[in-house]
Symmetry: C2
Subunit: 416 residues, 2 copies
């Protein structure tokens, strides 16, 4: 599974790039090619893939003993840019910037934080929008079927490449939490502190249902072309060995592809990320641009909630690849720790990790009962497990939104 | 608003058709033309429409004093065929057959039950799939914008046409409950017993959101053709003055129209009708036709829940018109009793109706809090109001599924 690293790969590691600029917290994206045509990654579904380029970022300084690495597993549509800014002009920092940094929840004065784009993604790591070396064309639907176990294999290979024998910690919410769970199941001694937020040991039937309708919206888009919608010329650049400092998405910006279907999939999913009460409070029945109802069937953004969802859909297609969405939601559907490891106790019973599991009161996509199931399995196996149901009105999104609360919880857990 | 009935219309009433055949409970669909080009219905949005053909059914016998009529307001995709069978070969009876009949929850030995397809629908009452007499073509998106107030106006006109001065009762779930609420607000003394199930005084932001993504799926379907997808030849038959006994849907059977978009809209909506626990219990993560996962991205019906949703979508497009879905979901979005009547107390405070409001514990689309809001307004206004939160695992669908429970509740209410 893990072929030895080539010396040329090791040599490309530049220790000086690990640190962040403490004042501006400037960071840079790095990338490395792991596996190869000769030593491909064997996937859970039976296929193979290699080489795999992995985009990742590191914040903080790796200790000489390399025992302070903390891995961030991102959620469905996240990327490796979890914290900091690429340059001083960047309007927005990484997606979990408030939580990761000097003195923050994941303290970069103490830990060296690593975040990598997942296998199958579209933000620098090999995925369906990348060139298949066998054909010279983007993979499209020829990209092999992947699971969360495969995603974790690639993460582990990156960690090994970085010379890290054991992670001080790993944390993730939603699909990220599934990766953390899979990691301690696959390699029970790989992580000292495992933190699982708003997640589950398997995706519920309701979760599968929402993913299925989202994928169907993409399949149905006439611009889907069975996954072969890429503009070839654009894709090549991200495959170079020297990615630019600011990340280039592999998503086509030309307006091609199933933009409508992907936006619709995102709109549907976005509703499930919000709680009924937060959506009611934030938008209610307020109108977007008028005091009065228009009595116009075709006005699609009359209510603020409609306008918000349209905006979310439009933004999303600018940064995400439809094929990646298909592959990653399917990986999520397939995730079932108990099924893969012949029982949840078997999956989690061997780990030496200290675990923290947290759910959110208004998260109906990953309800608290699913977190309790994980904790029960750990405790039944005599493992150390902390559990907390956090009070929040923000639904599934809470793990990204409620940073202060999470900071306190994680800090207490890591210091205890 | 309510032009006098023409004698020719009254004359078409055939008292003998009201009764059901007690053994087989055979029923027949009737239809009547209300309003006219000269006396059109003035709609809430400012437009006018007339004539309006209304398809309806009656079960039980209207008393000589015509004081035992009980009106059934159907939900979003329902129709006038609430109970009984059209002929002995019919495989399925009407949609609420277990609840309506001799000795049942709505007892046809006591009440004469009326159920009419709503304005804008596609099951015999004038809607976007019907011929616009001004153009000789199906209305399509030239059909005027309609609200629940307009739907209720047409119901009232039907009741008046039948010579009924006051209804003994009216009942409806979901969109049907909205009609009952609008009815007692519009005409406070029109109904003796008003029963509102799994409904609300306005649609929540989350409800608007789900409707909006469903409509977007239809708009995006290349077969939508801006609503002009009808096969003209098929439409004419349902406009005849002598509809066949078995109802002819106005839905095209030719495979034209935005079938894919409509099916997707239905799949999305269907998820919201089920509770998380019922979907988990009924389907869980079970596979449809295999013991093993296929690791195949394009297999869309691998999990049972996926297969079920696909089936629901496919069935739905055979019986429902996409334009009707657009108009009726929009009417639902617009429903806001407090907004229309300057406060909920104002809307409900004048009614002489005895009211029963019931919600379901696992209904997350129309949560109990929304029912409580209705009841609070009634009680604050000093009105008689009964409220019950019914225990059920079936989510929003419970009002259609939990017939025994509902029967007991409604019987107790009507007998008290």
């Amino acid at each position: 599974m893990e072929p030895p690293l080539l010396e040329s790969q090791r040599a490309s590691l530049d220790e000086k790039t690990f640190g962040t600029d403490d004042d501006a917290r400037l960071v840079k994206r790095q990338s490395v090619e792991l596996f190869s045509t000769e030593n491909p990654l064997k996937l859970a579904g039976g296929q193979e893939i290699g080489p795999i380029r992995v985009a990742y970022e590191m914040y903080g300084t790796l200790s000489p003993a390399k025992d302070n690495a903390f891995f961030i597993c991102h959620a469905l549509t996240g990327d490796a840019h979890a914290a900091g800014r690429y340059n001083l002009e960047d309007r927005k920092p990484g997606w979990w910037d408030e939580f990761i940094g000097p003195g923050r929840g994941i303290d970069t004065d103490r830990f060296c934080v690593i975040c990598a784009n997942v296998l199958g993604g579209c933000q620098g790591t090999t995925g369906p929008s990348c060139i298949d070396p066998k054909t010279g064309e983007p993979y499209g639907l020829n990209f092999p079927f992947i699971t969360i176990a495969d995603i974790v294999h690639v993460h582990k290979e990156l960690v090994s490449y970085l010379g890290i024998k054991k992670l001080a910690g790993a944390i993730g919410g939603s699909l990220g939490g599934m990766q953390v769970l899979e990691w301690i199941a696959q390699d029970p001694d790989a992580i000292e502190n495992a933190i699982v937020l708003a997640s589950a040991a398997n995706l519920s039937a309701q979760g599968i249902a929402f993913n299925a309708v989202g994928r169907r919206a993409i399949y149905a888009d006439p611009q889907f072309h069975n996954g072969g919608y890429y503009d070839r010329a654009e894709e090549v650049s991200v495959q170079s060995d020297h990615p630019p400092n600011a990340p280039q998405s592999t998503v086509s910006k030309t307006g091609k592809g199933p933009r409508f279907g992907l936006a619709l999939a995102r709109m549907i999913a976005h509703i499930t990320y919000l709680s009924e009460s937060s959506i009611e409070k934030k938008f209610g029945r307020r109108l977007q641009n008028s005091e009065q109802l228009a009595f116009d069937l075709m006005r699609e953004t009359e209510f603020q909630i409609e306008s918000y969802l349209h905006y979310q859909g439009e933004q999303f297609v600018e940064r995400f690849d439809a094929n990646s969405y298909l592959y990653l939601t399917k990986a999520m559907d397939y995730f079932d720790l108990a099924e893969s490891y012949h029982g949840l106790n078997n999956a989690l019973g061997n780990t030496s990790a200290r675990t923290l599991v947290a759910s959110y009161t208004t998260d109906w996509l990953f309800p608290t009962a699913q977190s309790r199931e994980i904790v029960s399995a750990l405790i039944l196996a005599g493992k150390h497990a902390s559990f907390c149901e956090l009070e929040s009105p923000y639904g599934h999104d809470a793990f990204l939104v409620e940073v202060q609360q999470l900071t306190e919880l994680v800090r207490a857990f890591l210091n205890s």
